[in-house]
Symmetry: C2
Subunit: 107 residues, 2 copies
DNA sequence: TCATAATATAAGAATATACTTATATCAACA
DNA sequence: TGTTGATATAAGTATATTCTTATATTATGA
């Protein structure tokens, strides 16, 4: 793996918000508005962070009607994937979203 | 490991020059002037990069008379160490330095 | 086709980063 | 003590990053 690409990858991970996004979509795919709801940030801000993660090939998107779901890109290098295991567990935030009725229920 | 600390760590790795430094000191400890010589960058620039790596606890320093030798900090988290294995082999640059007679020979 | 919901993009401001030049620190040694 | 070599720090500038607000895109459904 080339240094440029590698630095690009770490640059994508060098931000607390993006690490949180990775920690969240690691559990299950989430759409933008769900991330907005969980992270309490504006939609454009989340969208821009997702673009960086996508450019670094850390997440991939799947469109389903008007929603775009993001999830971990399985093509990721194994040693990068190891890093995701070290992220804190944020499943409770997703659970909370579900119980609050905000979870998008369509696929 | 907390998100702040983790982001700090990736921020330290989110730069091509610092990745090169890590790839170099992974082989053996090197002093600042050796890194300056190999990377063809100014001394203050290298020094500032080393400070960031040190703050992120990725490298440690050892003073020996007027030289300060930098090496990988063994206290590093295992999953971070995995990342170092993915760095390109730069041992030839060190060999080249040695044959050119620039290698600091004192300990 | 029009209105709406979800998302992306653009542009601007505030902040952070990386390099440069100049200077300070610190150890060795005459 | 004064000088030299190695390294660190400071200050300034150019560039990059992140957030905000405003607007564009895309799909859905009346």
């Amino acid at each position: 793996m080339e240094l440029d690409q590698l630095a690009e990858c770490y640059k994508a991970m060098a931000d607390k918000t993006r690490l949180k996004i990775l920690a969240l979509v690691k559990h299950e795919e989430l759409c933008v508005c769900e991330l907005v709801e969980i992270l309490k940030m504006t939609q454009p801000s989340i969208s821009q962070h997702l673009r960086k993660l996508k450019q670094a090939k850390l997440v991939k998107e799947r469109r389903s009607s008007q929603w775009i779901f993001y999830s971990i890109d399985g093509e990721m290098y194994p040693f990068i994937k190891e890093n995701l295991n070290a992220l804190p567990d944020m499943s409770s935030d997703i659970e909370q979203l579900k119980t609050s009725g905000m979870k998008v229920c369509c696929t």
